[in-house]
């Protein structure tokens, strides 16, 4: 049994425009020590997936399906039981470290709170552990910094504090929702290196949500590409990056300007990410797809495994062989 098994996760929101399905039919397995990358652009539903698992959806949101953490379904747990798991066995770090840390509490208070709650430590014991945690994330002068407030830290440091807080209880799963998007590229490199190191030390499984394929390449073993709330392709990082089999994945990879690539024109996927309240019929990507056929509009492709590579799952009517990386098309 995998550490985290998600089966057919659906997340819906009641809005003024009707019921909007933000996530549709998501499934994955996460083993110990593994890293899963969930990639997608805005509106793809990647954040809502993990928010649903953590029970952090907005009040008009509801989740169906299963999210089994070693057999326990996170979606069905009563609030008290869920609270004992959150922060303890499943921890989360968010995108904006400024708003995720309470500006009115010192860092020490925020960290010791977690330990007192889940590990039953005394204040003094918790403080010692907190200093150790800040050292582990390479914050210099940790003992003195504990007494400081979040606004006295820089963006990168705050994110380290968040990571330290998340790892205090040595969780089995660490969920990172775009943790480096708001950071400079050199700071991002430091944070990603830190995550890699901590993962090696503690064996934590990581779910990394991002729109940046470069971040995924450096950190993740498995990758899931989302579009319009549905999985387009799901495979190992090697497969996704070197042998993409879905038009959207091919498009995403081609749209990135690369240091080694001298091609003057980027592969631009025409159109724009969909409005989740008005998804196209059939395949959600069909309006922007170069290989579209009438079948793509009328019938939604199911997520199936490749016959020759059962680890690669894709949702496309055309076969993998027919999806060849395109030469970039001329202007827009």
């Amino acid at each position: 049994m995998a550490l985290l098994e998600v089966r057919n996760l659906n997340v819906q929101f009641k809005t003024l425009d009707g019921v909007v399905t933000a996530v549709n039919g998501l499934s994955f397995d996460l083993e110990r020590g593994q890293t899963l990358g969930i990639v997608g652009e805005s509106g793809s539903g990647k954040s809502q997936t993990v928010l649903a698992m953590m029970g952090l959806l907005a009040s008009n949101g509801s989740a169906t399906g299963q999210a089994l953490l070693e057999g326990q379904d996170l979606l069905r747990l009563p609030p008290k039981a869920l609270n004992s798991i959150r922060g303890n066995r499943v921890a989360m770090i968010f995108q904006d470290p400024m708003t995720s840390l309470n500006p009115y509490l010192t860092v020490e208070r925020q960290m010791t709170e977690v330990l007192e709650l889940h590990k039953g430590m005394t204040r003094r014991q918790a403080r010692v552990r907190a200093v150790q945690a800040l050292d582990a994330v390479k914050i210099p002068d940790a003992a003195r910094r504990l007494a400081m407030y979040p606004h006295e830290f820089s963006g990168g440091m705050r994110q380290r504090v968040m990571i330290a807080m998340a790892l205090l209880c040595e969780p089995d799963v660490l969920i990172a929702d775009e943790p480096t998007t708001a950071l400079d590229v050199t700071v991002q490199a430091q944070i990603l290196a830190l995550l890699r190191e901590l993962q090696r030390e503690h064996g934590t499984a990581i779910v990394m949500i991002t729109h940046d394929l470069g971040v995924v390449a450096g950190l993740c073993d498995q990758v899931m590409v989302l579009y319009g709330g549905r999985v387009m392709e799901q495979a190992s990082a090697e497969s996704i990056f070197y042998q993409p089999t879905h038009p959207y994945t091919v498009g995403l990879l081609g749209a990135l300007p690369r240091i080694g690539n001298d091609n003057p024109s980027l592969l631009a996927i025409p159109g724009a990410p969909p409005d989740m309240a008005r998804l196209p019929s059939g395949c959600p990507f069909n309006e922007r797809c170069q290989w579209r056929e009438p079948q793509c509009v009328s019938q939604r492709p199911a997520l199936t495994a490749l016959p020759e590579k059962p680890d690669v799952w894709r949702a496309c009517h055309k076969s993998a062989a027919q999806i060849q990386p395109l030469k970039p098309s001329p202007a827009p």
């Binding site: 400079d184 590229v185 050199t186 729109h211 390449a217 450096g218 024109s265 724009a272 990410p273």
Partner: protein
Amino acid sequence: MTDRTPLLSVRDLQVHFKVASDSPWPWAKPQLLKAVDGLSFDVFPGETLGIVGESGCGKSTLARAMLNLIPVTAGSIIWQGQEMRGAGAPEWHALRKSVQMIFQDPLACLDPRMTVGQIIAQPLHTHLPQLPAQEVMQRVRAMMQKVGLTTQQINRYPHEFSGGQCQRIGIARALVLEPKLVICDEPVSALDVSIQAQIINLLMALQAQMGLALVFIAHDLAVVRHISQRVMVMYLGRAMELASKQALYLAPQHPYTQALLSAIPSPDPRRERHKKLQLLQGELPSPIHPPSGCIFRTRCPQAIAACAEQKPEIRSLSSGAQVACDLI
């Protein structure tokens, strides 16, 4: 570099801000924030100069100073041979006809109460008020088509468009006067990856069509490399390196450039796994109390004691690159 005459020359540009001092007493001297501290570069007709740097390096301040939206403390800005510092309002007004700007937030830079047609027509009304309304509409429509918007949309409002389309409106507005130079302040940072590619392709195509010079400011090195011919790397208000794109990316000279390049995550798992990271230690120093001597020395892996004593001047290397480092 080349022996063409530059369109725009910036020499020793300094933009300093007075900020409230730490001391609460009203007679305390205000402190100086050196957002831009001695930049020099040229922009040649038809080429793209990329300016790259992380947050706090002063690139946005630079963009605004070039158009006199922020007052310049010292240095000179020479536009087509004419010194603009100290120039009066009419000269700047004339410059704005040929130098336009594209902004980072596609929706926020458009007045929500104006239609697309009115937004794109605004530069024409401002600089060519004598144009008849018919002509104005014609030019607006032509521009909309050029940037990939359908002319049926001309009466719609900005909030009815997606981010990428809003950026196209911004581009149309900037280009409707057929300027010679366009300053792009992080134009694709707020867009999704797939839309980013569309806008980059669009800008490059329009540049080729209209013979524009671009100053492309961004924090994403890969994007800047793709679109620029020469690239300048900024750190805390100073230039660290200025080189052609091949030279910069194949053989970066300055330690900061090297660190930046190694930090870019590339979508190539094997390469990422075996990458030798050059992590910068420490934190970005405060621009109010910058380090003495070389401003990068507090984080430089190769810094020696001498780096604290003297500010390194920008020297031209044999390869043509310009570097601000005494160790090279």
